[in-house]
């Protein structure tokens, strides 16, 4: 059956006035703003010479007021802008798959270990571990990619562009 081009009657669908997810996001934003506001009260007092100027805390506070004010509208967005909100709802209702969580953990582990491993080993690690985590089972492809990619990237940046890479505990460097 062909879908009707005529929109459905608005307001017939009963929705709560406050969207709980957006209310939580607004709560987090406002809480963050309150914490940052208190941080502005701890800014050092500038020299009396600058007494007539805009004070260092003034502008950040204006921004915190604006952000908090806008965040207060968030829980009601589904009422005044239903089209865009429905698409956001659709997006965030999708489950975060384990692959995403594992990828985030891997990225975290890579960043934590990089000062110890050095940049060359870190790049090699990324180019081996991430394809495997993302389901690549053509081991020959992963092997060729990791060796060639690490070699090429290290040569280009370390040797040609003279970027200093930490050699890490294994003291691996091309320079």
């Amino acid at each position: 059956m062909q879908k009707s081009q005529i929109p459905e009657r608005e307001g017939r669908e009963t929705r709560p006035l406050l969207d709980p997810v957006d209310a939580t996001i607004a709560g987090i934003i406002i809480a963050g703003c309150i914490i940052l506001y208190f941080a502005t009260t701890n800014f050092e007092e500038p020299s009396a010479l600058f007494g007539d100027n805009i004070q260092p805390e003034d502008f950040p506070r204006i921004m915190l007021y604006i952000i908090s004010g806008l965040a207060l509208l968030l829980p009601f967005e589904h009422v005044f802008s239903p089209d865009g909100w429905n698409r956001i709802k659709e997006d965030r209702s999708k489950h975060i798959p384990p692959a995403t969580i594992l990828t985030a953990i891997l990225l975290l582990a890579v960043v934590i270990s990089s000062p110890y491993l050095g940049m060359v080993l870190t790049i090699f690690g990324i180019s081996v571990l991430m394809p495997l985590l993302w389901g690549e089972r053509r081991y020959w492809l992963v092997g060729i990619f990791s060796v060639l990619f690490t070699g090429a990237v290290t040569y280009i940046f370390s040797v040609l562009l003279q970027v200093y890479f930490e050699p890490g505990i294994f003291n691996i460097s091309l320079r």
């Binding site: 005529i6 929109p7 608005e10 997810v21 934003i29 940052l36 502005t40 800014f43 050092e44 500038p46 020299s47 600058f50 007539d52 100027n53 805009i54 004070q55 260092p56 502008f59 950040p60 921004m63 915190l64 952000i67 806008l70 509208l73 968030l74 967005e77 005044f80 802008s81 089209d83 865009g84 909100w85 698409r87 956001i88 997006d91 965030r92 975060i96 798959p97 995403t100 985030a104 990225l107 975290l108 960043v111 990089s114 940049m119 870190t122 790049i123 990324i126 180019s127 991430m130 394809p131 993302w134 389901g135 492809l141 992963v142 990619f149 990237v153 562009l161 003279q162 970027v163 930490e166």
Partner: protein, 502 residues
């Protein structure tokens, strides 16, 4: 005449030409790969251009920007997956045309329209930027402040799902720009005892995190996605009949795209959508749209590439970015020690001609590359995601680290990426945050200066006509989405009432 010759001569160096061509190749590749975007590629490129002179570095990025917009249309046409958001409208008619066996014709129309749009907008850029800069020379900090606020307010109507969320993200961007030493008083703000923060948050890792790492995490949700590919033998130049049919659309979309590009914060995506809508509105064959209509390809393609030239006008003439990509180019200019704005154009007028030349070469080069290698570029979508994205992350790490050889920046990149992922998931786009981050310093600096000049009386600023004009525009841009929503509801109510015979 001398600045024109000097500017163009700067590009004559084989290294510069090589960098521009390199930018075009990277741009087309990045544009063609779904998930990768021009802003992401520019963000990754910035740290590696530090060792270059400003003109070759900016030329390379400008070339990448133009080519990236076109590259997206290759995959939009061949696999119905726009490589970049500005090409989304191209897929509406490009893919159906390719499906009926005319992929070469669709690609040719897209390339030709893109180049025409790009060149027309560059000609406008060449005349508009110096004129705008001349006007801007008379601006006091109050006018600049009002202009920057207007640019931020335009985030309400930037492409995205929510004006409100765009404004919140932009506000956070401005707030992040306040981290570090306050320039007027020397007081440290939001540093929380971390030494690395006293000079402020380096925006390169933030850009990389928001554009590359957040998208990487987003892509990890789509590992099982496969595309149906349409075979393209070769890209064909538009026939005389096609040309006759699409010329008015190209001209109209080029003007529209350039205008939208000039507006602060609006970019190629909005231009493409409007280009498509206008092409449809003016067409005698409205019913053919969506089935592979040539105007449906020419309209968005001319508009989205025209927006690139348009967006460079406020970026170079005023120091106010016209889009997310030009915000990154602006950041790159600052990293190279230049202060974008009217004074830059007054002191080094050759700069504008060099950028014009670079973008002109880029437009012609991507046409040539497109005709010569569209088939090859379409093959890049065969690169497995499981290989492509680890490479992107490796570049993200090196890019964040290389700017200051600091692991702190790598952490900033990762945290920005994780935050960016949750932002994206909840409708907050990275582009508004970046615009806020880039404009934040201008807003605060000009606000402080304007308040000193006007004895800390904000309302005294409004007595200046240009300031008042920009604030009126700000109010219009903030209220625009509210009115359009009200209009939409009224229209819906009328339709429903008609249906129910009320």
């Amino acid at each position: 005449m001398e600045p024109v010759i000097t500017g163009l001569a700067m590009l004559a160096d084989p290294l510069n030409i090589g960098l521009i061509i390199g930018g075009v190749v990277i741009g087309v590749l990045v544009g063609a790969l779904p998930g990768l975007s021009s802003p992401m590629a520019i963000a990754l490129l910035i740290p590696f251009t530090i060792s270059l002179q400003p003109i070759p570095a900016i030329s390379m990025m400008a070339a990448l920007y133009c080519a990236g917009t076109f590259g997206g249309s290759i995959t939009a046409i061949l696999i119905n997956a726009p490589g970049a958001p500005p090409a989304a409208a191209t897929a509406l008619d490009g893919y159906p045309m390719a499906r009926r066996g005319e992929a070469g014709r669709a690609l040719g129309l897209a390339a030709f329209s893109s180049v025409c749009g790009g060149i027309i907008s560059l000609i406008i850029f060449l005349f508009a930027a110096p004129l705008l800069a001349k006007v801007a020379l008379s601006f006091t900090p109050a006018e600049y402040f009002a202009l920057a606020v207007f640019a931020l307010s335009m985030l309400a109507s930037i492409s995205g799902r929510s004006s409100l969320r765009n404004l919140i993200a932009g506000g956070f961007g401005v707030l992040i720009s306040t981290v570090g030493i306050h320039l007027t008083t020397g007081v440290e703000r939001f540093t929380f005892g971390i030494n690395e923060l006293s000079e402020g948050i380096n925006f390169v890792p933030v850009l990389i995190g928001l554009f590359a790492v957040a998208e990487l995490l987003n892509q990890s949700r789509r590992l099982d996605r496969h595309y149906e590919r349409v075979r393209a033998k070769v890209m064909k130049l538009p026939s005389r009949e096609d040309l006759k049919r699409v010329w008015p659309t190209i001209l109209r979309s080029s003007g529209l795209g350039t205008f939208i590009g000039i507006l602060p914060a609006e970019g190629a995506t909005v231009a493409a959508i409007m280009g498509y809508n206008e092409a449809r509105r003016w067409s005698k064959n409205k019913e053919q749209f969506g089935t592979g209509c040539p105007e449906g390809i020419a309209g968005p393609e001319a508009a989205n590439n025209a927006a690139t030239g348009g967006a460079m006008v406020p970026t170079l003439a005023l120091g106010i970015p016209g889009s997310a990509s030009t915000a990154l180019i602006l950041a790159a200019l600052v990293m190279h020690g230049l202060k974008p704005g009217p004074h830059l154009l007054q002191q080094t007028p050759e700069f504008i001609y060099a950028i014009f030349g670079a973008m002109l070469i880029a437009n012609l080069a991507f046409m040539a590359i497109g005709f010569g290698g569209a088939k090859l570029f379409a093959q890049v979508t065969l690169i497995p995601r499981s290989i492509l994205w680890p490479a992107v992350f490796a570049f993200s790490m090196i890019g964040s680290y290389a700017a200051a050889s600091s692991y702190f920046d790598v952490w900033v990149m990762l945290i920005s990426g994780l935050v960016g992922f949750f932002m994206l998931r909840n409708g907050f786009g990275p582009a508004p945050l970046i615009m806020g981050l880039i404009l934040g310093k201008i807003v605060e600096e000009t606000f402080s200066q304007a308040m000193i000049i006007h004895d800390n009386n904000f309302f005294a600023m409004l007595e200046r006509p240009i300031v008042a004009f920009f604030f009126v525009l700000t109010a219009i841009s903030l209220l625009g989405p509210v009115f359009s929503e009200a209009r939409r509801r009224q229209k819906n109510r009328r339709l429903v009432a008609t249906q129910y015979g009320e």
